[in-house]
């Protein structure tokens, strides 16, 4: 495959940055998108140029480290992570525009790498979960209906990649935060800190400078893990009831 890549290059956080066009040839349709980026970077390295910086880690679609806003979509045209996106999705001769996630709370570090530390701080704000220690618990000692366990698990599949923020017209982190709040709100183990967790995580989310939700559903449509908008409704319920009932005046 022969492609034209239009890539956002930015030296550092304070650099203005801009698009640079790179022609690339000899790309196999079986390559993943990141492997295509590796080929480009090898060529750049041979030429003595600075390779394009981008985030990646497991390349198995489970770590949430890869990002990239490809042709107007987070993680590209398919509902998957960038590492699981294959070059057969594109056609020969196509121009592919690659940008970093755009949000005030995700400042660009270099090129396509953004600092998603704001997500970590939202998680940290949630605090700890009380669990009983001691001997190995018996199986099924903690009763939980299968449906609830499944729903909590669905929420827990959020890998925190930030595609929801990237897709949202308001750069809102509500799908992410709601998935994290939902996961523990539904499990019996998370009940002691349930109210304070909802209050603190929402407060941290606002402090980081994310926008609010307009219920457009763009996040849900782009989420590589299929996190549903029902999580946002649940977060709102959790937050309202926590505000009304918690002891935090």
């Amino acid at each position: 495959m022969k492609l034209t890549l239009k890539i956002w290059r930015q030296k550092n956080a304070s650099d203005k940055g801009g698009f640079v066009t790179y022609p690339i040839d000899g790309i196999s349709t079986d390559m993943s998108f990141l492997e295509m980026m590796d080929v480009l970077n090898e060529e750049l390295a041979i030429k003595g140029q600075d390779p394009v910086h981008f985030d990646h880690d497991c390349r198995e679609g489970i770590c949430g480290m890869c990002s990239l806003y490809i042709n107007g979509h987070p993680h590209g045209p398919q509902q998957t992570t960038t590492c699981q996106l294959h070059m057969r999705t594109f056609s020969d001769g196509e121009t592919i525009t690659i940008e970093p996630w755009r949000a005030k709370a995700f400042p660009v570090v270099k090129d396509l790498v953004v600092d998603r530390g704001s997500f970590d701080r939202i998680i940290q704000a949630g605090g700890y979960v009380n669990v009983n220690t001691g001997g190995v618990p018996d199986a099924n000692e903690i009763p939980i209906p299968k449906r609830v366990a499944d729903e909590a698990f669905d929420s827990a599949t959020c890998i925190g990649c930030g595609a929801c923020v990237a897709a949202c017209k308001n750069a809102s982190a509500m799908l992410f935060t709601s998935a994290k709040i939902s996961q523990l709100a539904m499990l019996p183990q998370g009940q002691v800190e349930r109210m304070s967790r909802a209050e603190k995580m929402v407060a941290q989310m606002d402090e980081e400078g994310f926008g609010a939700c307009t219920n457009t559903g763009a996040c849900e449509a782009e989420c590589p893990k299929g996190i549903s908008l029902t999580n946002i409704a649940r977060m709102n319920r959790e937050y309202f009831s926590a505000s009304l009932k918690s002891e935090n005046v």
Partner: protein, 226 residues
């Protein structure tokens, strides 16, 4: 900051205000459209004028009208506040923006709302202001004097531009409601496998039926009162 102001100034709290004021305005629209259906009566505006008199003098209706004014102002102020937060959340935009898999209405609620607000100002200036402080002629039904608001309505809708403007404004209202109705319930956290499909369906019917009923009023008056 007390817990109340802290909650209501959070992004979710501000959305709560948007949802509650929005739902109250939907209730208001339901009452408004139902009452105004009396414009279709072929009685020279008698039923409508008696209704208008009741609506401007009854203390319970007065209270509701104040709630409506507060809801409109609150809805506008909180949308501006949320909008500025939302814009600030993405200081640098994307180079490429493909049409997302979301509805046009949901992405442009602010623009639709701005047009509706302009409409409300013109609408209130034309009828509400006239009814309260304007020079409205009187009519007598069964020995009781009433303000003849119907004559004001009939006169206003002789103007084609006015009729067209009203129909367009109602289209904007329809699109605003097509997202707003169900969205308000989602914001309140009322998302449930049993009820959400029903809410979505009622929202779709509401956003079509109510604006069409409203829009048909100036059109009907234009063709019957000339």
């Amino acid at each position: 900051m007390s817990w109340v102001t802290k909650t209501l100034s959070s992004t979710i709290g501000r959305k709560l205000i948007m949802a509650l004021t929005g739902l109250f305005l939907i209730l208001f629209l339901t009452g408004h459209v139902a009452g105004n259906l009396q414009l279709f009566k072929s009685d020279g505006g008698e039923a409508f004028n008696i209704y208008a008199h009741f609506m401007t003098t009854n203390p319970a209706v007065k209270l509701l009208s104040y709630l409506t004014y507060i809801s409109i102002i609150g809805h506008v102020i909180f949308s501006i506040w949320l909008g500025s937060t939302n814009r600030a959340a993405r200081p640098i935009g994307y180079g490429v923006s493909t049409p997302p898999s979301t509805t046009l209405s949901s992405r442009n609620m602010g623009i639709l709302g701005t047009f509706i607000l302009i409409f409300i100002v013109i609408h209130m200036q034309t009828f509400w202001y006239q009814m309260h402080w304007g020079d409205v002629p009187f009519v007598t039904y069964d020995g009781v004097e009433y303000k003849d608001l119907f004559s004001i309505v009939a006169f206003a809708f002789q103007n084609e531009l006015m009729v067209i403007g009203y129909v367009i404004a109602m289209a904007f209202l329809g699109f605003h409601l097509s997202h707003g109705f169900a969205s308000a319930f989602q914001t309140l956290g009322l998302n449930h496998a049993k009820y959400s499909p029903a809410i979505a369906l009622i929202g779709k019917i509401y956003c079509i039926v109510v604006p069409i009923l409203f829009a048909s009023m100036p059109v009907y008056i234009y063709f019957t009162q000339s």
